[in-house]
Amino acid sequence: MSLKITKTPKCYVGGAFIRSESGRVAPMRDAGGGFVANLPRCSRKDLRNAVEAAAGAGPGWAGRSGYNRGQILYRLAEMMESRAIELADSVAITGEAEDGRAEREVRAAIDRVVHFAGWTDKYEAVLGSVNPVAGRYFNFTVHEPMGVVGVIAPDDAPLLGLLTLLLPAITGGNTVVALASEAAPYPAILLGEMLAVSDIPGGVVNLLTGGRGELLPAFAKHRHIRALAAAASAGESATLGQGASESVKRVVARDPGADWFSDRFDSPYAIGDLLEAKTVWHPVGA
């Protein structure tokens, strides 16, 4: 009998697989309480490093055409599809969910990636406008990414929930630093491996694992994070909003108990929540 090679789970930051700079880990256990692996317990310093990576990747990602971003996102769906079984196992590993739920979650997650891949070159047509002002001006409103977006994933539907919050951000050209579910972080570890081979440039999506209580205030207060998309309880929302107010950061708070499978999350308005509208006036004249 040959001994199984177990994986050392690492976080995906700046296109590389890292351990926490703090050297801390948290043991992950399966539903029966058995040891699975040690996961990084990321620190505020890890968050700062991830924000730096996300900020560095921002202009390049925002500068790509919608068509290009769409193909890259679709490529992520291809990478997930080929490892769908493994993803489902990762969802099921910590939970006691009913039969088939993990598989359904992975299917829904892949479908959502494909959905948003198709929005990259279309949301502007829905959200933007040419404005008929009373005067000789060509006036229009277009949308631009906010920059670095912080994502706080829910424990329920740890893969689908994470992607539901993360996809609108990167579809619109933002870059992301996400905190994976604390209770079920393993799908985010696998997702990192798929992001790494999906043509999404390093730094566009950065995934951290660690303690919510420890990291939420740091997400809220970091001035370079310009928006938060968070599955957060009322108490957590207050923490996030209070920290965010120091730099007038946008906060999109979702109910952590939401039905993440619902197609109401398939929407260009979720992309719009993480974009800035810019209105430009041009005089019309000789």
Binding site: A134, Y137, A234, A238, G241, S245, V248, V280
Partner: protein, 501 residues
């Protein structure tokens, strides 16, 4: 045949236009606007469709910035008054939101028309109360306020077209707090979309400029707007805090300083109430060397001296390409000499009175800081009225990025001039601020306009123009200039929740 030289330096220079200097040779005759403003001795609150004495029993004096005289007395709404206003708005919400959109729209059309009927009266009142030149209140503030009601009236029965794939629903009671720089216009920006979307309103006008808001209540009454749909609670800081933190609000909209905006965001954190903030700015107006300089100078003057610079989107930082900096500063100095600063009620006045003593002190303090930090000050010789709060139009040249006059919002007629060499440097300097409300770019090159406009981190960019506004045009900022937009389709969506069908 030698190649034709094309560099700018070799262009034959036209003789400079001659400047006509009259000096003190002739005095301008006064040309005061004489239409009556019909300002009452005192104004109570407007709650549930009735003029209501404040439960607080307190009134405060409202002074006219033009001569520091007492204009009227304004009710100082207390917490119980704010509660009463929310109760009235909450009671009115079911009926107002269930009313067919076309009917709601008719009320807004009526309001727009009634405001147009009494435009001159409102313009004079606005100028007496706030200090802005009558030319601006008459030609900009009041007509634009009416335009906002007219524009949004038309949305009331067309909400279904705002967001494809979603069903829009009104939110409930909107708590709104507005600033003193465009009192009636900001009221229109807040009330018109809220009502068109089917919400009801509790609004607090600014402490120093409540007159036109309270006069507006008579228009609501004449329009027969159902009681409680709009409630106006005047007062100071505490009244404002009560309005924005009231649990009866489903939505809070605030226009004012970034400091107060942060306080509100902190206070509302975790409540789930919708919030839009339109806060401060430190806009860059960028002039490239190929720009039509006379046109640009005119735009810069308008950008900073419009409404005495009491404009959140004022072009208060001028970034000029080094090669034309000297020319631009000279042209600005010449243009500044013909600005008339003085009695805002005079139809020839360009720069009126500073809104309050406190604001005047703040401007003076920052201008002193500019001088202390080594910037060169330029002020035209002008005689200011002996009574009232006035500040002459002011330029600072040789300003560097770290100086306070380049970083802090002055909210007065003070322009800071910096220079740059390359487009990249211009963008870097323009974006080097926590704010991001507006920006201007002046160049003759179309492709450069689009490139620079796309790189500026600002919610509104004016290309070869400045300080243009329209109800159809979304307005609002990036970063610490706030979030949310007012005007156009985007502005309507701030007052609706989008539900899946």
């Amino acid at each position: 045949m030698p190649a034709k030289k094309t560099s700018a330096a070799s262009k034959p220079t036209a003789p400079p236009a001659r400047e006509l200097l009259f000096g003190d040779l002739w005095e301008y005759d006064p040309a005061p606007e004489s239409a009556p403003a019909f300002i009452d001795d005192r104004y109570p609150l407007f709650i549930g469709g009735e003029f209501t004495a404040p439960k607080s029993k307190r009134y405060f004096d409202s002074l006219s910035p033009r001569d520091e005289s007492r204009l009227t007395r304004i009710a100082d709404g207390g917490k119980a008054d704010v509660d009463a206003a929310y109760a009235a708005a909450t009671k009115a919400f079911p009926g107002w939101s269930a009313m067919p959109g076309a009917e709601r729209g008719k009320y807004l059309f009526r309001i727009a028309r009634l405001l147009q009927d009494r435009a001159r009266e409102f313009a004079v009142a606005e100028t007496l109360d706030g200090g802005k030149p009558i030319r601006e209140s008459r030609d900009f503030d009041v007509p634009m306020a009416a335009a906002h009601f007219f524009y949004h009236a038309g949305w009331a029965d067309k909400l279904a077209y705002l967001a494809p794939g979603r069903v829009p629903r009104p939110l409930g009671v909107a708590g709104q707090v507005i600033p003193w720089n465009f009192p009636l216009l900001m009221l229109a920006w807040k009330i018109a979309p809220a009502l068109a979307a089917g919400n009801t309103v509790v609004l607090k006008p600014a402490e120093t400029t409540s007159v036109t808001a309270m006069k507006f209540a008579t228009i609501l009454r004449d329009a027969e707007l159902p009681p409680g749909v709009v409630n106006l609670v005047s007062g100071g800081r505490e009244t404002g805090a009560a309005v924005v933190t009231h649990p009866g609000a489903a939505k809070v909209a605030f226009t004012g300083s970034t400091g107060v905006g942060k306080w509100i965001q902190h206070a509302l954190a975790g409540t789930g109430r919708r919030l839009t903030l339109e806060l401060g700015g430190k806009a860059a107006n960028i002039i490239f060397d190929d720009a039509p300089l006379d046109q640009a100078v005119e735009g810069v003057i308008n950008g900073i001296f419009f409404n005495q610079g009491h404009v959140c989107c004022a072009g208060s930082r001028l970034l000029v390409q080094e090669s034309v900096a000297e020319t631009v500063v000279r042209k600005l100095e010449i243009r500044m000499r013909s600005l008339r600063t003085g009695d805002p009620l005079d139809k020839n006045t360009d720069v009126g009175a500073i809104n309050s003593q406190g604001q005047l002190e703040k401007i003076r303090e920052l201008v002193r800081a500019g001088i202390d930090e080594g910037a060169r000050i330029h002020q035209p010789a002008c005689k200011l009225p002996e009574r009232g709060w006035y500040f002459p139009p002011t330029l600072f040249s040789g300003v560097t990025m770290s100086q306070r006059v380049a970083r802090e919002e002055i909210f007065g007629p003070v322009l800071s001039i910096l220079t740059f060499r390359t487009p990249a440097e211009a963008v870097e300097k323009a974006n080097n601020t926590a704010y991001g409300l507006s920006a201007g770019v002046w160049t003759d090159k179309g492709s450069r306009v689009f490139k620079i406009a796309s790189e500026l981190k600002a919610g509104v960019v004016w290309a070869n123009t400045y300080n243009k506004f329209d109800p159809a045009s979304p307005f609002g900022g990036y970063r610490e200039s706030g979030f949310g937009r007012e005007g156009g389709r985007k502005g309507m969506l701030e007052y609706l929740s989008l539900e899946a069908p």
